[in-house]
């Protein structure tokens, strides 16, 4: 097995580096020392940076080989809960990367960007339709920044009304980590409310928590438990009655696309994760885009710039046009290339396709849940319908067999299945949050269910084989503790 692993592992790019080598075809001709002689010596660099000196072939080969060490949607089923790992259509990438789009400078004249602005304007309109909101800004660069824009608008709203007391944001205990982190970032005090045994927000606790200090609540629905918050109307009433606003974390919009809209549920502000619901690439960690939609009363506070149409011309509105705006969240106008990808995807889905997304994401989740429960796994909320995702808990297996959720996750890799999200939400012990998405076939779900069943059998018969998994990846299980203790964050040349 050693030669096998050796062949799959790839040295560092620095290991290929030899002084004097380089991909010269990529470099401009040397300018000569005279060209930079006007730069004061005191402001100049003395030692060149430690960048690899490698040929173009070495670069191509290195990164091609590295890429092959990844699981990805394009290679494996990837049911990472809360992340909506659906198919990323190749068309979205190809047509967002047309040469004219790529070459356009963000500060180029609007007259020389009517094509891209028209796409963005129509994207804003579609997002309004999809969320049931009245106005949209596309600038937030990921979900967390969308959240930030949302709670910052809530702040600006209260401030604008002279309501300066409110300093608390309520967050259910199941919330994604970005929600409390965002609230803090925005200067709010975070107040957690519990969920009940069935996974719904504890309405009584919520009623007790709200008051004159309540700025608003951050909620995702379906929640991170994969459950539709059934008492959403009551929640909205309680918060609104207390003078607070409702913020919708759109990370789970995929579940309800075309079925129910945050605006209709009573939310005042929404962000949408385009890299989830609208299938822009996850890119090994991004880029995303987190446009925000708002009810009319929050529209003056939208982050700038926003695209407007004036007499068939499209233009950007800035701080000058929206003086109450919470301001700019990026140097230019957010992740335009990501927005174009989402635009393309949404145009290809169209009205009917959107409804299909919600339908089949939900069907797939409930089917896989049914199969897994039948195979002997415990649903965290067995009496509830799954939304687009669901949780199983391995508490019983951990206790009886000594096999943890992490062990099962690692062993899944050996079966060619990317692991679900592990240990989130924190509320459920030994949990796996499983989100198949609508683009996976029944056969793919069946294969996953079979792998899970096999692992369960193995856990009973040969638990060490599970607890020491993975066995077939390029590396075996990695030592995270050592990683954090003996920090090795950059390569250093041998002295």
């Amino acid at each position: 097995m050693s030669i096998e692993r050796d062949n799959r592992l790839e040295p560092l790019i620095f290991d290929y580096s030899v002084p004097g080598r380089g991909a010269e075809d990529q470099w401009p001709a040397p300018s000569g020392d005279a060209a930079v002689a006007d730069l004061p010596a005191a402001l100049c660099r003395e030692q060149p940076p430690l960048l690899p000196a490698v040929s173009e072939l070495e670069t191509v080969r290195h990164f091609t080989r590295l890429s092959q060490l990844n699981f990805a949607i394009d290679t494996n089923f990837y049911p990472l809960g809360s992340c909506t790992m659906k198919y990323n259509p190749k068309a979205c990438n190809q047509y967002a990367m047309l040469p004219e789009f790529l070459a356009r400078h963000p500060l180029a004249p609007e007259a020389q960007g009517q094509g891209v602005l028209e796409c963005l304007f129509e994207l804003q309109e579609m997002l309004k339709a999809v969320t049931g909101m009245q106005a949209v800004s596309l600038t937030p660069m990921a979900g967390a920044q969308g959240e930030f824009a949302g709670v910052a608008m809530i702040r600006a709203y209260h401030r604008a009304r002279g309501d300066l007391e409110r300093n608390e944001i309520i967050v259910p205990e199941t919330a994604h980590g970005t929600n409390p982190a965002t609230a803090t970032m925005c200067g709010w005090v975070v107040r957690e409310v519990p969920v009940d045994a069935e996974g719904d927000v504890d309405v009584a606790a919520l009623a007790a928590a709200v008051g004159p200090k309540t700025a608003g609540i951050m909620l995702t629905n379906p929640s991170t438990l994969g459950l539709f918050e059934r008492r959403i109307e009551a929640v909205a009433r309680i918060v609104h009655d207390a003078g607070g606003l409702l913020y919708y974390d759109g990370a789970n919009l995929n579940a309800i696309l075309g079925k129910v809209r945050p605006g209709d549920m009573g939310f005042d502000v929404v962000h949408v994760n385009l890299h989830k619901t609208f299938s822009t690439p996850h890119g090994g960690g991004g880029p995303g885009a987190g446009p925000v939609g708002v009810a009319a009363r929050l529209a003056p506070f939208l982050p700038v710039p926003v695209v407007a149409r004036r007499d068939d011309r499209y233009c950007w509105l800035t701080e000058d046009d929206l003086p109450q705006s919470i301001g700019r969240l990026s140097a230019f106008c957010g992740n335009v290339g990501v927005l174009l990808r989402a635009y393309i995807y949404m145009r290809m889905l169209g009205r009917d396709g959107m409804a299909k997304v919600g339908d089949y994401a939900t069907l797939n989740a409930n089917y896989l849940l049914a199969r897994l429960t039948r195979a002997g796994f415990d649903a965290a909320y067995p009496r509830r319908r799954a939304s687009h995702e669901f949780i199983i808990t391995l508490k019983r297996q951990a206790r009886d067999l000594g096999v943890s959720a992490m062990d099962v996750a690692k062993r899944l890799l050996d079966h060619g299945q990317h692991a679900p999200t592990t240990y989130f939400p924190l509320l459920v012990p030994e949990c796996l949050l499983i989100e198949p998405t609508e683009t996976e076939s029944k056969a793919a779900l069946d294969t996953f269910a079979v792998a899970m069943a096999q692992i369960l059998a193995e856990a009973a018969q040969e638990p060490e084989h599970v607890t020491s998994a993975p066995h077939t990846m390029p590396v075996r299980r990695l030592d995270d503790v050592r990683a954090a203790k003996q920090l090795d964050l950059t390569w250093k040349p041998a002295p």
Binding site: D74, P109, V260, M473
Partner: protein
């Protein structure tokens, strides 16, 4: 449509397995009153063929032009290999490497990236990206507040020669936590921050001083003096730098006696297309002592159960998914794919290629400025060295000139009037290595033309 693979038979079998009659029944928990029947505002679907034609038409409408705008986003040569590799499905359609063993490609790449960025900035550690340069400045300011245990003021000094969009983003993002961004004026003659401007803060509690090198005017600040001034007062130094410039310019880690403390900047010049403004990426490096205050993901090298080297996300206790409300930032999804491209780009460039790029951009900009200022009524606004941008003063308003240039297919620069009205008719121009002598001549001739037309109009 919707890329759903289900056949009727699949659906029937699945519903039966679940034990419901219809897909509709799966939504029974949603209050009926809230349900909608159709998304009126969304148009009917286009198939890929129709979509392709639509997008091609729109792209062609935007056209291609000769661009001399910089101001935070720069046209550089991008090797074909960069995006041919970065868009490989294994990079493009993977996510944050939560399962390290099945994500060694992304993880190793990020480790290589961290190494490159740390070295480029002469710092010890790097994160795996923030959203963009402007938001990175906001994050750096927040980080400085956490990292500077000797300061309680949360006051951050920011020169007006820092890009106005960056300053606004910093306020918008970090302002709500009580950070006060106080502006330092620039000298009329150089466009740079004079040390004199700092005098009034001599005895104050300042958390951090921001230094942009080059600054928004392309000019070079006296980074050593500014850095030492800050450190002498226990303020941290947050550097905002152009990564390409660092091939020529002194890296922040070497500013003054001790070097900058936190370095951020816009990664776009490293292989990322202009794309109307994004996606780009923000980079951040710092000293090891501050690593636990750093926002964003970090990759570490460790060993596997067999003792072989491998890579994994580390120091996650800083992050929102562990620390929640106490995290160093709310950032979760970052700009991974852009960093993938930048790492490939930096590998192809190497130190020599990056230096040549920087030197060529510097030389081209000087040629451009020389050509433009050879025209009557056109002058340099500031004296002093620049990297690859400069401010041109005109004796007529800038906006109509830019429009006239645009009609000739030339994007002539960024009008500074809105953000710096005190400069009068000032235009920020940029020429990178992508511009030829012929391009520069074309710009000069067109400008001569436009100026003539404007004056006679």
């Amino acid at each position: 449509m919707a890329f759903v693979p289900h056949t009727r038979a699949d659906v029937a079998a699945m519903l039966e397995s679940i034990g419901v009659e219809s897909i509709e029944a799966l939504f029974e928990e949603i209050p009926a009153a809230l349900r909608i029947s159709a998304l009126e505002g969304v148009p009917e679907a286009l198939n890929e063929m129709q979509l392709a034609r639509l997008m091609s038409a729109r792209a062609q409408r935007d056209g291609r032009h000769l661009c001399f705008i910089g101001a935070g986003a720069y046209e550089h040569h991008i090797p074909a290999a960069v995006w041919a590799l970065a868009t490989r499905g294994e990079f493009y359609s993977a996510y944050t490497p939560y399962q390290a063993e099945a994500s060694q490609g992304t993880l190793q790449l990020l480790y290589e990236y961290q190494t490159m960025m740390a070295s480029l900035t002469a710092m010890e550690v790097s994160n795996a990206s923030l959203y963009d340069g402007a938001s990175a400045l906001a994050e750096a300011s927040l980080m400085a507040v956490r990292a500077n245990r000797r300061s309680r003021s949360k006051r951050i000094l920011v020169p007006c020669s820092v890009h106005p969009h960056y300053r606004r983003a910093a306020v918008a993002i970090a302002g709500n936590q009580g950070l006060a961004f106080e502006e330092l004026p620039f000298a009329d003659d150089t466009g740079c921050t004079p040390v004199a401007a700092l005098q009034r803060y001599e005895r104050e509690d300042i958390t951090a001083l921001v230094i942009a090198q080059p600054n928004v005017f392309g000019g070079l600040e006296d980074v050593d003096t500014l850095t030492d001034w800050a450190h002498a007062r226990h303020a941290l130094v947050v550097a905002v730098v152009n990564p390409v410039s660092l091939a020529l310019l002194k890296p922040p880690g070497h500013w003054g006696a001790k070097g900058a403390d936190i370095v951020v900047g816009e990664g776009q010049p490293l292989g990322i297309p202009l794309s109307s403004g994004g996606p780009y990426f923000g980079f951040m490096t710092t000293r090891l002592e501050h690593v636990r205050q750093m926002p964003g993901r970090i990759v570490g090298r460790t060993v596997d159960a067999d003792g072989r080297a491998g890579f994994t996300l580390t120091l996650q206790a800083r992050e929102q998914h562990i620390r929640r409300g106490k995290a160093t930032s709310n950032i979760c999804t970052n700009q991974g794919l852009m960093v993938t491209a930048a790492t490939i780009h930096l590998s192809l460039m190497g130190a020599e290629g990056l230096r040549r790029t920087a030197a060529a951009a510097h030389a081209r900009t000087r040629e451009l400025v020389a050509a433009l200022t050879s025209l009557p009524g056109v002058r340099r606004q500031f004296s002093g060295p620049v990297f690859h941008e400069d401010v041109i003063g005109l004796d007529v308003p800038v906006a109509p000139v830019l429009q006239a240039l645009a009609e000739r297919g030339i994007q002539g620069g960024w009008d500074l009037h809105r953000h710096y009205p005190q400069l009068g008719s000032a235009l920020l121009v940029c020429a990178t290595e992508t511009k030829t002598a012929a391009d520069i001549t074309r710009y000069r001739d067109a400008l001569a033309d436009c100026l003539r037309a404007t004056r006679t109009a």
